[in-house]
């Protein structure tokens, strides 16, 4: 146990960062060897290097987590803050699945679970994760075995069945936090209901970790989570400048720490660095794309496996996604966390995640983003895998177009399964959409 712990600490503090810097160095060398290409994007963000280092170290350390510290696999909308003071290493299967998506590994992993009887109509994140579990294939070397599965239904109901399948596979406890769907605003008894479940989570977490959740430690992690969320919000807000100092696509990649490392010093230090760089770019007038002619809003998850192609197609014609409802969700989730009452404020905040809110609320968020970031148009990604995010988009499209006088495109794809993306048709729609701006 002590040896394992030492290995875990060494992996996270020394070997992981070293491997990451080695990787960055290799990439730079490769880039230097390649002939310079004409790019429609602005100069790359310096922080990317730090981001890679951070995430490589995180996943590398994870390889040695089981046996060293308690490990929890959690959904993206889970109040992870409560587990941190108990010493849990948190693994985000959705974040891992997104990495598999970027590397186009999903069809192979999905085939493995489809052969077991899971439907292809199931969310591609769920298929990727279960596929990775049963085949052991992962781009990060190894995922640590969980001691606890922590699932919150504020993002969808699929996670419940997905995590049940994981519990069945690993034979470990599953904590379910059920969040009632919000129409308007959550009723006090809804929040109380969620709060009761979070208190039970504390008890289960204490039992598994063998530690006590001290009030001071809970307050400290709450403070860090709120600070991290606010820093992330500051980073996103720089996109209001003209030109926006980065692209929405950059935002998709840079959100990894706020999802997977929320409530830690590492996360906050990173976003301070990123915020300062973005603000500096704003001061110097450096844009995410070379020539920003039109500003767009993106709704829903990214198309991970085609994210670069789509951004390039648009950037070549001067279109930039200056804001996305997806990255914005992480600027809101933790903003109402109160260090004086982590459990109560987390119950409220995590019930009000965008995907757990009714259509008028979602329209309100999109309308606010569209105005704050002064966009000329919006692309609503109708995501085959994410039904709760995609439902209602036909109405959202009409309302946004009518109320704000902007052009809106509905684009059918999937967040990580390339088999649900018709490239030629998709690019055709995006091109026609851009042509309609004249």
């Amino acid at each position: 146990m002590i040896l394992r712990r030492a290995q875990f600490e060494l992996a996270g503090r020394v070997v992981g960062p070293f491997l990451a810097s080695l990787d960055v160095w290799k990439r730079q060398l490769r880039r230097r060897r390649r002939a310079p290409r004409e790019s429609p994007f602005g100069p790359p963000l310096e922080s990317v290097r730090k981001l890679k280092e951070l995430m490589t170290a995180h996943y590398f350390q994870g390889r040695f987590a089981d046996g060293a510290v308690p490990v929890a696999w959690v959904t993206s909308g889970f109040p992870v803050e409560i587990l941190r003071p108990l010493g849990f290493h948190a693994v985000y299967p959705e974040n891992h699945a997104a990495m598999c998506g970027v590397q186009r590994l999903v069809p192979g992993l999905s085939d493995a679970v489809e052969a077991m009887g899971f439907s292809r109509d199931l969310c591609s994140y769920a298929r990727t994760d279960l596929g990775s579990v049963v085949t052991g294939r992962t781009p990060v070397g190894r995922l640590p075995r969980p001691d606890l599965l922590a699932c919150c239904t504020n993002i969808c109901q699929t996670v419940l069945y997905w995590y049940r399948a994981l519990a069945d596979h690993f034979h470990v406890p599953l904590v379910l936090v059920d969040t009632p769907y919000v129409y308007g605003e959550a009723k006090p008894h809804h929040v109380r209901y969620v709060r009761d479940q979070l208190e039970e989570l504390v008890r289960v977490g204490e039992r598994i970790s063998g530690r006590r959740a001290e009030p001071e430690a809970l307050a400290e992690v709450a403070r860090k989570a709120k600070e991290g969320t606010d820093l992330w919000a500051d980073c996103l807000a720089t996109g209001r400048s003209r030109p926006a100092p980065w692209t929405g696509i950059d935002g998709f990649f840079h959100m990894a720490p706020i999802v997977a490392l929320r409530g830690t010093d590492t996360c906050n230090a990173y976003y301070r660095l990123l915020r300062d760089e973005l603000r500096d770019r704003v001061r110097r007038g450096i844009g995410g794309i070379r020539e920003e002619r039109h500003r767009l809003l993106w709704d829903n998850l990214p198309i991970w496996f085609a994210v670069r192609e789509v951004a390039t197609l648009l950037a070549e014609r001067g279109f930039n996604f200056v804001c996305t409802s997806y990255t914005n969700a992480w600027a809101e989730a933790g903003s109402r966390i109160d260090p004086r009452d982590l459990i109560g404020s987390a119950a409220f905040s995590y019930t009000h995640i965008i995907l757990n809110q009714d259509l008028p609320n979602r329209l309100g968020i999109l309308r606010r983003l569209a105005r704050d970031y002064a966009v000329d148009g919006a692309v609503l990604h109708s995501d085959r895998s994410c039904k709760p995010y995609s439902i209602g988009q036909v109405d959202l499209k009409e309302r946004l177009a009518a109320e704000l006088g902007i052009r809106v495109l509905l684009l059918e794809a999937d967040h990580s399964d390339p088999r649900a993306w018709a490239q030629e048709q998709g690019e055709n729609r995006l091109t026609a959409f851009m042509e309609s701006f004249g």
Binding site: V408, A420, A422, Q425, N428, A432, E435, S436, G438
Partner: protein, 255 residues
């Protein structure tokens, strides 16, 4: 007469080309089945049109093969169909373009601009290909479809709009002794219902126009009229609308 620009529409089924004069009026055209080797086919067609009309002007390209058109300026079919249709009918409204692989509904503004559009996604149901596959299976020549549908005493309902499933459904209907005319009518209704669903969200309340090769099939126009409950105006020379729009897009002096 000297043509000032040429537009080429390389579709999934047919390749269309139109040469226009300096005022944007069509002066010559070509329609051929699309060859898998697009570049030589388009080069030949453009050369023939240049020889016929003395055109020296630029080439505009649209359709799925638009990027394969040598020295052509590429634009999507949405923009070109809207432009071609508006230049012909000179009115705003909704344009339903039914082509081989795509069905599009385009809302055109008072200045001919694209206000909004919707297309079928990742599936050829509701497109010309759907009809082509089933008609091929039933051995009904395209020119005779309309007459056969008009002779049908009643429509035999075809529930599937998936091209692959509809094919097997139609075969079983034929085997079950249902009249061919009735099955054809049912097929047109199923197809029209699908297109109408696409149109309802996008078309608005103005006039409805139709372009694309499928608009040459009067039975389809009639079925769509019944499904939408509104009159359909077929744009003259519907198959050439995209190519015309592509030509107008590169015509010197045009916006």
């Amino acid at each position: 007469m000297r043509a000032a620009a040429i537009g080429v529409d390389v579709g999934s089924t047919t390749c269309k080309a139109v040469a226009v004069d300096a005022a944007g009026r069509p002066v010559a055209h070509r329609v051929e089945p699309t060859d898998p080797r697009i570049e030589p086919q388009v080069e030949r067609i453009v050369r023939e049109l240049r020889e016929e009309t003395g055109a020296v002007g630029p080439v505009g390209a649209t359709g799925y093969g638009r990027k394969r058109v040598p020295s052509g300026r590429a634009l999507t079919e949405i923009t070109c169909h809207a432009r071609g249709a508006f230049a012909t009918v000179r009115r705003s409204g909704a344009l339903v373009d039914m082509g081989g692989q795509d069905t599009k509904v385009i809302r055109i503004g008072p200045a001919g601009e694209v206000l909004d559009f919707a297309m079928n996604d990742k599936c050829a149901a509701g497109t010309g290909r759907f009809l082509e596959v089933i008609l091929g299976r039933l051995r009904v020549p395209f020119d005779e479809v309309s007459a056969q549908v008009s002779r049908a005493a009643r429509a035999v309902p075809v529930s599937s709009t998936c091209t692959v499933f509809a094919e097997s459904e139609v075969i079983s209907l034929v085997a079950g002794g249902e009249p061919l005319e009735g099955i054809l009518k049912g097929l047109h209704q199923a197809l029209a219902a699908r297109v109408a669903a696409l149109a309802r969200g996008t078309a608005g309340s103005g006039e409805v126009f139709m372009s694309g090769g499928v608009a040459l099939n009067a039975a389809m126009v009639g079925a769509l009229r019944d499904a939408l409950g509104r009159p359909i105006h077929v744009v003259p020379e519907p198959q050439l609308v995209g190519a015309l729009g592509a030509a107008l897009s590169v015509l010197p002096g045009s916006p």
